[in-house]
Point group: C2
Chain length 406, copies 2
């Protein structure tokens, strides 16, 4: 079995085995990374990350936002991934390069060209990710010199610096690692704290592995993993123009994983990063797990869970530690899923406050003082289920997002 | 032409022509109304309203929430309206009587029985509306004596008292009147300040007219009017279990309206009430009009407008008077409507801040200091359009809705 290691809040490692292995995207062999300050962010904090695959394999896969308004770097990266091969990923915070027209696409292209020239690979082997405010051009006069700096700083333990450089409103950097006793590793990093409702992938995530896995299998494994992890995070119902999840395989371990172990490891790293995203969502004071059970189909369970997750009135009530189950039923009632309104059961933190569509156990029994809240909605319409993660709606969320671009 | 009269904030009328005519539901001849304090609300404010049609006609129509979790009074009123005939409507605030099971339905039935007995009509001619917290039984020991009191207080100028008695978190009571020079009148009242995203009707609304109009025509006129008014109010994306809009015709004017004038008058009263609802939405500081133009179809225009209206990040930005048009595009991109991302234009308060999917006019030109904000999204995909009204998302909304039931 694989061993999960949550290094989200870990202190930097210098020296010793873990430093040699690195964390996040440099936990797997065959990768180097860097995070530097190019000056894109007015704050002067790190804003440019580079992840490089040194091979011997360069297989890669990616999933991207299903938002039809796609940022230039998403359009670029989709294109370069068509051959299932990547040598490097360059990521900037401080600007999304979305809704920037043909000039914005040119900026992405120029960034990939510069990375390729510095590394001696083709621009078509370089994926680009950007995150920040929509509708503004990137300062290329700062970004391109930043690329040169990042190349100079590349090391086999640069995973943490890279994870730090992709933060926007994130309060912590996010990494995760799963190591297989068979000799291979899957590691990754993520950024994301708002606009968290991916239609396919979410936010910026780079995963790396030294397992030997061909690109078509990477693609299948990554799609399956994101479907049950990042796709089921719905902090605020708002889908980004820049969501990107990439998985790069160096093959440097020389080991070809057997059976389902590799898929399970990728899903585990994705799930761990997804949980870190919810735990750091803008202004949130509660992490809310919504379990929909006894649904007719998994799709309907997801639909119901997502509808509950997006109900502003409920999210306010949960912020106020009010077990207002009527708002859960009002939300379920807006879906097309199979259920009988008189056979709905709802539990909040294990107390079945609603049974048979009406009053159940005493709502005063519900303890909602902790950060984590679990809502269970039993549809009594079949044997399928799904879990979606969301957050409460708070005055801090309003404040943070009413002042973001100003 | 008809003359609209907004009496939302009007002072009570005593004596003189307007008192004789009444306002709201007693503006039309043939109707009496009352609003009394039954003691259902802990606050001791009025909480029970009664509207009685004295004929000679008793034609009526209704539209109800499309939420599949329907409150007992909705199930009851849908049933009694099947014959297109109503003699009275009883409405209580202080409790929604939703998710209360068979016992809750019995409470609704008993309420209609008592109203019928007091008025000398059948219970099957009495519609019931309830509004307030979901998941709690109504205090029938207070409500039924309140019915007797309301019957005693019925007068031809009770429209304002009735409008006051149906308030919950509403800060103002809401009435509207349109008078036709042909001798007939349409009046109405509404309550609603939260959970404002009707799937069909919204909140509690009672409209009355003294025009002679048969029930099937009332039904068609009411459905058409709600489709373009209450259905296009989306304050917080949350659909209620109790939404009801009723239209009662007494025929007391003796006049049968000609042509489209009656439908136009009903739509005008609905539009006026809908605007009052948005203007009084919980915690809101902005009334936001979203015009989607040049869409392929009206349905797609509504879908796009509603998706923009429900985007929490945008609603926060508008609260902060930040013309963050990137969030408008990110929202449009999640719809299935026909458009080319590179041909989207967006104006905020008349300034085209986005042209061709990219940066347009200088965003600093946008003045957002007033309460009303207009967002225009031009899809450049056809000739259809639609308008949806919403509000901003504020810390006050969070506060009001995190403390509602406690």
């Amino acid at each position: 079995m694989t061993t999960p290691q949550n290094s989200g809040e870990a202190t930097p490692h210098h020296g010793g085995e873990s430093a040699a292995q690195g964390i996040g995207v440099t936990a797997a062999r065959g990768f180097r990374a860097a995070g530097v300050t190019a000056g894109i962010k007015a704050s002067g904090t790190p804003d440019l990350a580079l992840v490089v695959n040194d091979g011997p394999s360069f297989a890669a896969a990616g999933v991207f936002t299903s938002n039809r308004v796609k940022a230039a770097p998403v359009l670029w990266s989709q294109q370069v991934l068509k051959d299932g091969r990547l040598a490097a990923v360059i990521l900037n915070s401080g600007g999304a390069n979305a809704c920037t027209g043909p000039a914005g696409f040119q900026d992405t292209h120029a960034t990939a060209e510069r990375v390729g020239a510095e590394l001696g690979v083709g621009a078509g082997e370089v994926a680009v990710c950007s995150t920040g405010l929509i509708g503004e051009r990137l300062p290329m006069d700062l970004l391109l010199p930043g690329v040169e700096l990042a190349v100079k700083e590349l090391t086999g333990h640069g995973g943490e610096a890279a994870a730090i450089a992709i933060k926007t409103t994130d309060t912590v950097h996010k990494t995760a690692v799963v190591r297989s006793p068979a000799g291979w590793t899957v590691g990754g990093m993520a950024k994301g704290a708002g606009m968290l409702a991916p239609g396919l992938a979410t936010m910026l995530v780079v995963l790396t592995t030294d397992a030997r896995v061909p690109a078509p299998e990477l693609d299948a494994v990554l799609r399956a993993a994101t479907r049950t992890t990042f796709d089921r995070v719905d902090s605020d119902g708002c889908m980004s123009t820049n969501d990107t999840v990439l998985l790069l395989a160096s093959g440097a371990s020389g080991v070809t994983p057997q059976g389902e172990e590799f898929a399970a490891a990728v899903e585990r790293v994705c799930a761990e990063l997804a949980r870190q995203l919810i735990g750091d969502a803008e202004g949130a004071s509660k992490d809310i797990r919504i379990d929909v059970t006894d649904a007719a189909t998994e799709d309907e369970a997801v639909e119901v869970a997502r509808t509950i997750a997006r109900n502003n009135l409920l999210k306010c009530a949960l912020h106020g530690e009010d077990p207002n189950w009527g708002r859960v039923l009002a939300a379920i009632g807006t879906t097309a899923a199979a259920f009988d309104p008189d056979r709905l059961d709802v539990a909040i933190n294990g107390v079945w406050v609603c049974r048979g569509g009406a009053v159940g156990e005493d709502r005063s029994l519900v303890d909602m003082t902790g950060r984590q809240i679990t809502i269970t909605a039993r549809l009594n319409a079949g044997g399928a289920g799904a879990t979606v993660w969301t957050n409460d709606l708070t005055a801090d969320y309003v404040h943070e997002n009413s002042a973001y671009s100003t």
